[in-house]
Amino acid sequence: MKLALGPILYYWDRDTVLKFYEEMAGAPVDIIYLGETVCSRRHLLRLQDYLDMAERLAAAGKEVVLSTQTLIESENDLKTLRKLADNRDFRVEANDMGAVRLLANKMPFVAGSTLNIYNPQTLDMLAGMGATRWVIPVEMSHEALVAVLHNSQSKPETEVFAYGRLPLAFSARCFTARHYNLQKDDCQFKCLDYEDGLTLKTREGQPFLNLNGIQTQSALVYNLIGELDTLQSAGIDVVRISPQAHHTGKILQLFHECMEQRLAPAQALSQIGGLMPAASCNGYWYGKPGLDFIRDKQPAA
């Protein structure tokens, strides 16, 4: 199994991003996804900045993939998308069917998680158009995934979102701006103040969701570090870690050591606790509500 770093889902200032990827160039990670996938108003880094970073990371031996925006609404969004699709140096992660239209049968691509591939028929069709890898829907269980892989003819690489706050929903509305009674078009870039998002709690204090501009995430951190053996036996090729403001390098290190079987899952789970912005959840993997955390692992199916 290979280790991947997903795109930064939050809005960090330019220097922070550049420093972050300088560090990642030396981190034990095989694949790095780059790009703004959440909001077109976030502009501190432009496409050329990402391409420059991509060059540097590729020179450091990383496989680089450029991720497209997920919600594509305007002609400007499409313009950016076309530039990504026309680049000939790096593979593109398509996070919308509009991106698939531009890439299909022209260039190999990664089929992103929001393409909603729930069955082998859809997977095989996208593989036939050039998808060399797919990222499973966040809500897909281990059992459902095994059934897809068992019935798929094409067998592109399979990637699972295995660590981070889950990107659960996308909206036209910006919930961070709403928190400040601002309209999206005049959001004053409030996302910059929330390096790991803005936690939404129930009225009795339970952390429930995490507001990240137009994206709504889980407040809890999806964490499959204890499930790497089932990921392996299910035939997963790539394990994705989603960047957080602090300790991403250390988290990659723990996953890396676990995957190399130099660290036991129970140990890893106890060590990772202090590095997380919130508690763990893993319910989706067991076909349960996503926010559940199953401690007593069932034997692998």
Binding site: T70, E73, L200
Partner: protein
Amino acid sequence: MQHDKKIELVCPAGSLPALKTAIDNGADCVYIGFRDDTNARNFTGLNFSFDNAKEGVRYAHAKGKKVLLALNTYPQADNWQRWTKAIDAAAELGMDAVILADPGLMQYAVKTHPGLRLHLSVQGSATNYEAINFYHEMFGIQRAVVPRVLALAQVEQLMAGTGVEIELFGFGGLCVMVEGRCALSSYATGDSPNTRGVCSPPKAVRWQKTPNGLESRLNGILIDRYGTDENTGYPTLCKGRFDVEGETYYAIEEPTSLNTLELLPELIRMGIAAIKIEGRQRSPAYVEQVTKVWRQAIDSCLRDARAFSVKPAWMTELGKVSEGQQQTLGAYYRPWK
């Protein structure tokens, strides 16, 4: 661009009486679903058996109206055949179109029933013309239902880039999230619109009287708490009151309904092919009221768009059946975002 003045009124029906009511009150099309998780309103006691659907199609066709079948959830490896059988049934029933979201299923429909008309469901999350053209080129979809996230100017831009007919939501429950890309319900309860055809499912709902007020919970998660003088609402999880940095408010969306009646002249001018009314889970009385008002409004607007104005009586009628008795233009009106 088309400036065809015809605009279809597409109304919901969760039962045969609702379907007949919709037709009798002026619907051009009625959309329905079967009694299982092949559609996004998979509620107990709702929807159509094969025989009910057959009678519905007969009734509608006898009056020159259409029936559309929603098969707009995502089949999985272990239940794939339930969806393909539903496609086969749609063809056998003579459905005027099937409304699909899953590309694998579209491929099946095209191969197996080449004459069957396909509409792209709102659950297919197509918010730009490149995506819509993808479905058109691959599967020949003839109409796309667009998610409730675009401003009207964005819809117009989208229409300039595609020849596919566009259907917009005009009235009813409002999804704040891009349909097909929201897993909030499965995060909280295990069941989502994509996989089970439900959002915030009734089986996960609990109401509790407490000293702090009446509480609504979804799988134990506190969604809202009501004072004695407050109207209660169904605990759809994005429409609860939550705490963000010590402030309690409707952090995602108020309990409110979409109502675009005042945009009607603009929608017709733009060449929108159809207006969709949400609410297959609602009663025949809802269907009757909403269909009647929208029929009158569309007819009045088609007669003379310049003289068109929203009658207060229409708004009163629609207000009675709106969620939280509140209405909004949603994302069509850009400042809403």
